[in-house]
Amino acid sequence: MMKQSWWKWLAFIFLMYTCIAGFLVKVPEPPGVPLKESIRNFFFHVPMWFSMMILLGVSFWYSILALNKKHPYADFYAHVYAQTGVLFGCAGIATGAIWANYQWGSPWSGDPKQNGAAIAILIYLAYFVLRGAITDIDKRGKVAAVYNIFAFFMLFPTLWILPRLTTSLHPGGQGSEGNPALNGADMTPTLRMVFYPAVIGWTLLGTWISTLFIRVKILQEKKLSNV
């Protein structure tokens, strides 16, 4: 059992480490940057987006498998991974809103990246509605997969290209360094030492949640088809 689920232990250990070390490590205090202790949110807010993108990427991958009919339950996998991805997206918005409230003065200030995140969530909510509107299982799998692939290709330019073209309160807008999420050069070694395990830990947690839901869905499906 231990052998089968080593990555669950890894998720547990990394997240414990994130929660303990994240609040204890010495954070940098560069002069003129009023981040202070709120930088610790960096270990929670930013990994949410990394996990969301990875989970939505997995969902996209299963949609391709669903179209190729390589995997009997691919549609369920795609659906559940998208759900977990959206869950992490909402958590990302929530953690971001708390941080923004202290740093920028209000939870929502219409920053291009905040808007981008909201668009992402809207796109995937439409995916759930579309999937729910079709009752026939074969048709649902196919149509949902087509939309998921399409949405994935529409979403990622929104998240990766558009924020670079405008000025932003986040790091990495127009005229500043770094990618749209964060400026890697600003991270000190201590930040990195907590940040990367945090990303892995949160992503594994997302995978864990997804696998549980997939098992439930498949069991329900089998029960329905046996009756």
Binding site: L67, I119, L122, I123, A126, V129, L130, A133, I134, K139, K142, V143, A145, V146, Y147, I149, F150, A151, F153, M154, P157, T158, I161, L162, L165, Q174
Partner: protein, 222 residues
């Protein structure tokens, strides 16, 4: 049997769509009337807006016009008819012809709505040729995206509503780009990263066409 080239098939299908549209003119007039009344309502509620507001209202009205004009395209044709086209022409020519036809339709709608906007809401556009070019590019983008979404929505129930739900979030990036690019038409400001924005806009449209052509065959393989 004579072998028909891809181009000939597409042309024949586009011609068929155009003829259908001209024969059932009530639908075409319906869309134009819908646009005119939208613009008239804006005029009643807001009078003559200033340039930036005019611009936003213009793109929103285009969005609604596109939803209405294109939603019916796949829905008006019965299942049997679509199967018939599919078997005689194949999926790729079918979606290509639909895209071309809707781009044409939206280009006409675009001209009509610019005219109506100028008539009801005044004309704050300083550089008209540029605005015509940009709004044509915008109309093209709307047409391409909604054609593909209409094809998806045709497979689900409550089609028109589903199309709006799917379309609006997916269109936001293009609308933002269009809104930024069109500001140049209203005053002699220099838009930062002007060519970059144009490149992104056209790149987006190319991506949608490519995805539509790749994914459409899967959608219709019943």
């Amino acid at each position: 049997m004579k072998k028909v080239s891809f181009l000939q098939t597409v042309i024949a299908l586009v011609k068929k769509d155009a003829q259908l549209e001209l024969r059932q003119q009530y639908a075409l007039y319906g869309v134009i009337l819908y646009m005119a009344s939208t613009i008239f309502v804006i005029y009643l509620l807001h009078g003559r807006p200033e340039a930036t507001m005019w611009n936003s209202l213009f793109w929103i009205s285009q969005l609604f016009a596109a939803t209405n004009a294109i939603a019916k395209s796949f829905l008006q044709e019965s299942k049997g008819k679509l199967l018939y086209y599919y078997t005689i022409s194949g999926a790729v020519p079918l979606i290509t012809s639909k895209i071309i036809f809707h781009v044409g339709l939206m280009l006409c709608m675009n001209l009509i709505s610019i005219l109506l906007f100028a008539l009801f809401l005044g004309n704050p556009v300083l550089y008209l040729p540029y605005f015509l070019l940009l709004s044509s590019a915008g109309a093209m983008g709307l047409a391409i995206l909604f054609t593909f979404l209409a094809a998806i929505a045709a497979k689900a129930q409550q089609q028109a509503a589903i199309m709006a739900i799917m379309g609006f979030p997916l269109l936001i990036p293009q609308l933002l780009l269009l809104q930024k690019l069109s500001l140049v038409a209203f005053s002699s400001v220099v838009q930062q990263g002007f060519w970059q924005l144009w490149g992104t806009l056209l790149g987006f449209q190319f991506l949608v066409v490519a995805l539509a052509v790749i994914l459409f065959p899967f959608l219709w393989k019943d």
